[in-house]
Amino acid sequence: MDVRSQVSMVFHLDKCIGCHTCSIACKNIWTDRKGAEYMWWNNVETKPGTGYPTKWEDQRIYKGGWERTGDGVALKGAGKRRGLTNIFHNPNLPVIDDYYEPFTYKYLDLIESPAGDDQPTARPISMITGEPMDIKMGPNWDDDLSGTPDYARNDPNLEALSPAEREAMFQLERMAFFYLPRICNHCLNPACVASCPSGAIYKRGEDGIVLINQEVCRGWRMCVTACPYKKSYYNWATGKSEKCILCYPRLEAGYAPACMHSCVGRIRYLGVMLYDAERIERVASSPTEDLVENQLGMILDPFDPEVILAAKANGIADSTIHAAQNSPTYKFVKKWKLALPLHPEFRTLPMLFYVPPLLPVMASVKPVDNEQQAEKMHEIAKYWPDNWLYDTSTKDLWGTLDQVRMPLKYMASLFSAGDTEQVKDRLKKLMAVRVHRRHTTVGDIDAEQAQRALFEADLTAELADEIYYLTSLAKFNDRFVIPAAHREQAIEMLEFAGDVKGSTGFGFKSGSATRGS
């Protein structure tokens, strides 16, 4: 057992309102620079939709991630042989038009144009060439566009559905969508690291954050191809690749990453998980149907004395083990089994997990008779003579799960490599918590029904209350359990800190800094 600690994330999709505050927080801090304008280390996609870059999930186009080869795994579009033979021209590299050409407007024209017969306009100009351009695509171009032919209907995940199911999904009355916020997954088996010819990308041992050393990066661009989530970006101005750094300078100081700190819906959780690094290769090459189970299996119980012992032997600090025991992500992912990785079939073992959204799945529109209701209304009240009801009732329990609006197969294509049981299991639990809380707070569901719901979802009332607490009431310190970075120990490994002790303010000074010099 080779115990390592990993900073992991959980995004609760039922709570995401698609406001993009996370994206803006990230953009303002990290990617508001030349060459990085098009990059969104954090982006929020509308699902069903094609995403950013367009159709990133379709690995027949982008050749990202790993594929199974006999007994092991190999990179699909990069690696030693493919990477080095394609070093002059990488055939699987997306171009900037797959994202969008960054643009701004000539605002100065609005106030500096000479007087004339027409209102001056601010023309869009390219941030690459500085020339006027026609905007073809931009950030969040397919925001909220479920059902549209260009975007939603080109979602690669729809291939899991039959044509009839697809049509049913996009009926106007049944149409639904949800948001999928994405950042780097800081994978356990990162394809970007494996594909880097220069060896510039590495995983930090202490917390598992994946970083690109900008001094070592030579811009061979293989990581852009290899990352199946397209979360490594090529800066066209500096010729280096960049990616989400999980705001490690903030994490080391005990702050949550900017995207998580600013999250309006409070959907984001961050905590440490202990895992067994010896199993990485075995888990990454397991059969597709076992990928989720095996990945959850390699996450270790931080309360297990044996695990604690092995963790200490590997130099993991007590404070980190303590953080792992209080980790909200461990609860969501392993204890409650409420969260799933995004596209586990890419075999990178992503450490960002998603609680699948229940609402777009469960709510349905039923035909009802509104006549009686209409008669009660005042005559000047605006009245639409329709017979539809947006129904979120929970009476039917699991009966509706199979006839839901957002087909389970679609969800399974996103979160469990096609295994609908895994998704169903999570949704059942979310539903049971709802039923239980409805019974407790509103009281229109009787105790027996609530008990039955909990029993069928393999939950107890205590667990359901715990889930409820961390989902709805959790405070900042519950959502983000950040381990101490212990950089002081790292420094002590490099130099003898005792030498400096006592030198401040005493002895000799050679030169001193003066203000303004």
Binding site: L75, K80, L84, I87, F88, H89, N90, P91, L93, V95, I96, I128, T129, G130, E131, N189, V193, A194, C196, P197, S198, G199, I201, Y202, K203, R204, G205, E206, Q214, E215, V216, C217, R218, G219, W220, R221, V224, Y234, W236, A237, T238, G239, K240, I280, K312, A313, N314, G315, I316, H486, R487, Q489, E492, M493, L494, E495, F496, A497, D499, V500
Partner: protein
């Protein structure tokens, strides 16, 4: 010493040493001081399809030509022995010429792409044009020499290899070089100019070709500290030799 002799001595003795010196110091300085800049700015992300038809034949052609010259320099006897048979000589020469011509045409194509695509123009520096033109002139003269003064692979091994070795051993002997036609002289001076330009242009990227990738394991984990030792009480304070005192 006449002016012509002096000029020749400068071009074929002083200049090669200046070029080598600048190349050596310049690359070391650039690597150590501005490691961030030791790469070539790829424009594939801004335009990928046309690039393929220029960049691949260019690189392959240039590599073949470079290793062709290098082998004649390192193994002159072997080259001469190979060329003793006319058929083998013609095979060697025509192979080299085909790659030279393909390099020439792909260079022209790449220059055209750089000049006409506004996105590529936006990421082009003056030095990019300088080195591209320099390479173009060099390959053009190489082709000219190959056609006009046959058979280069043989007389390179016989005349230029001793000259280059004499430079390397700091006993410059330029008798053979002085007698060469001016086109070949231009080609030789061009070669040293390219060497001189390496630290100042994107050419530097050939020095960091990622061959070490072949030998490294796929996954890389880096630790800020020695994880096996950090919790050992004996490690504290004294694991590392004091560096700051």
């Amino acid at each position: 010493m006449s002016t012509v002799d002096l000029f020749n001595a400068f071009l074929f003795i002083a200049y090669p040493y200046i070029a080598g010196f600048v190349f050596l110091l310049g690359t070391i300085y650039r690597y150590r001081e501005t490691g961030f800049k030791v790469s070539s700015l790829s424009s594939q992300f801004l335009e990928g399809d046309a690039l393929f038809w220029g960049i691949v034949p260019f690189h392959i052609g240039l590599l073949v030509l470079f290793f062709g010259h290098l082998s004649a320099f390192l193994f002159p006897q072997l080259t001469l022995a190979w060329n003793a048979e006319p058929l083998r000589l013609i095979i060697l020469e025509s192979t080299g010429f085909i790659f030279a011509v393909s390099t020439l045409f792909s260079l022209i194509f790449l220059l055209y792409r750089r000049l006409t695509n506004p996105r590529i123009r936006a990421v082009t520096t003056t030095m990019d044009y300088v080195i591209e033109l320099l390479l173009l002139v060099q390959v053009f003269f190489g082709c000219w020499v190959a056609v006009a003064f046959r058979w280069g692979s043989s007389w390179f091994a016989a005349d230029l290899t001793p000259y280059l070795w004499s430079l390397l051993t700091f006993t410059p002997d330029t008798t053979a070089v002085y007698a060469l036609p001016w086109q070949i002289k231009v080609h030789i001076v061009g070669a040293f100019t390219i060497l001189l330009m390496v630290p100042f242009t994107r050419l530097i990227h050939f020095l960091v070709a990622p061959l070490h990738y072949i030998f490294r394991p796929y996954q890389q984990v880096m630790w800020n500290w020695d994880r096996k030792g950090i919790r050992d009480p004996r490690t504290a304070w004294s694991a590392a030799r004091p560096k700051n005192n």
